[in-house]
Amino acid sequence: MKTNKVTKFLFRRQVIGLAEMYLFLFAAFLILPFLFSAISGSLDDYSLSQQMQGSWVTAAFGVYMFAISTLSYENFKFLIQNGISRPTFFNAQIVVNGLLILIGNTFNLVYQYLVLMPLVHARNTNIFMSSYSGYIHNSILDFIANFIFSGLLLVVGALFGMVIGNFLTLFSKFVQRIILIATPVIGYITLMYTASRVILDRNFQMTWVANFAKFILGYRATGSYDPFPMIVAMVVIAVVMLLITRYLFSKKQLKRE
């Protein structure tokens, strides 16, 4: 009962945010260049189709989903003020993210098939099309696989954002800053150390990493990449991150600010 109410509340807020983002992007990428061209007297150089060829329209949704997924504390504050429990918030947020991904993914693919592909005359306008589309030879099945693959990418991205955001909300702002500064530094040092070991140490070749990556990506020595290992890997990653997110939601509490 309360999950429906919370879902409506969160969906309304986040779909408004999505609309605002698209309005801002259309203004920034389509209207502003037009205005600049008009002011500078180079209107002949302005091309609407050229402006729409960039991948910003489809990329924007992924960025938006990741960003809003990291931000949950403001909603938590409002909901706990209104007697809403953490599990209800979690369930509603998952439903809302699912609905938004359904809408955004549909919009992205429709935009790709109906706008981008006719404009660019290309068939590789996203990761699936550039890596996996040759595997399935039926165009309808290929579209369905593309839809599932793109949707799962968005799901994994959103859940990754939820894990990061909800993990950080467990800490004070000071500790958050330390984590945000220390993580890239430690990551960079680890990467550099690993890379140097791989180059300098013959016994430390980590071929299993490359083999595992090839397996996950569905790499085949001949022919097209197989999308299904990647789809299965994304489903497994999504389930693991969903469980981590649920745990992090259960630990949410008001911070002493």
């Binding site: 809403i84 429990s85 509490q253």
Partner: protein
Amino acid sequence: MSVLEVNHISKSFGSKHVLSDINLTFEDNKIYGLLGRNGAGKSTLLSIMTNRNFADNGEVKIDSEDVSDNDSKLGLMYLMSEVNLYADGWKLTQIMKDSESLYGGFDHQLADHLIQEFGLDVNQKFGKLSTGYNSIFKLILALCLPVRFVLLDEPVLGLDANHRELFYSELIQSYSDNPRTFIISTHLIEEVANIISDVIVLDQGRVILNQPVEDVLAKTHSVVGPQKDVEQYTKGLNVIGHDMMGTIRANYVYGDLDDRILPDTVQLSNFDLQKLFIFLTNQYEGSGKNENK
């Protein structure tokens, strides 16, 4: 009939014990005053009761059911506190609509009346409110939402004397029209003394007093007279504080008096809740703690 129980609640922040084994029962349709000095643990207790924060130990129950992550029980409480849980950019009208939706009701008639009485412009954003109107807005929500337990943490923060007076009179009217349980945490003891039916005093994370106000006041005795006579009369009684005015001494006793005879030179009367609170929580040198030195 709903009962809110706090059972064995303890909470520490680092090495500091904020609450130690708190046990309280809040009965239906009463107005409780939750008093305590700064840092006594009042806000932490209210925050734990509404499941905003976790206790280290213990549980909070409504009608024998744990409130932790329990929508149906959490929906019976509203905690108005100085902590702002509404986003600055949200409009007041939208906050009211969303709160109504989540709580499943809202007394629009009372809200309109209060908005008019307090002169609140509900078409502005939450972040634009002054400290006083910020409190007023949250008080309106607290009084208009359909909850059984209204928890008010420093409800009159930033309110001028006129608005404070108006709030107390509207609170009594609202309670009279729709009896429910209020828990008011405040430092302005004199202002709530005539409103509350029960008083709970927290001191250093422990409950040191939890009784009906009437019973508490009946046990307060101010013994005034010549120093020698007063000391003689109060010997063996629970003297929690004293005042000296030249040769005249006032001993403040908390507890029942026995059948001892009152000397003609000594006057006996009750003292107020604020004075009792100050003595019990060791506010200044005439306090109970110093009496034992």
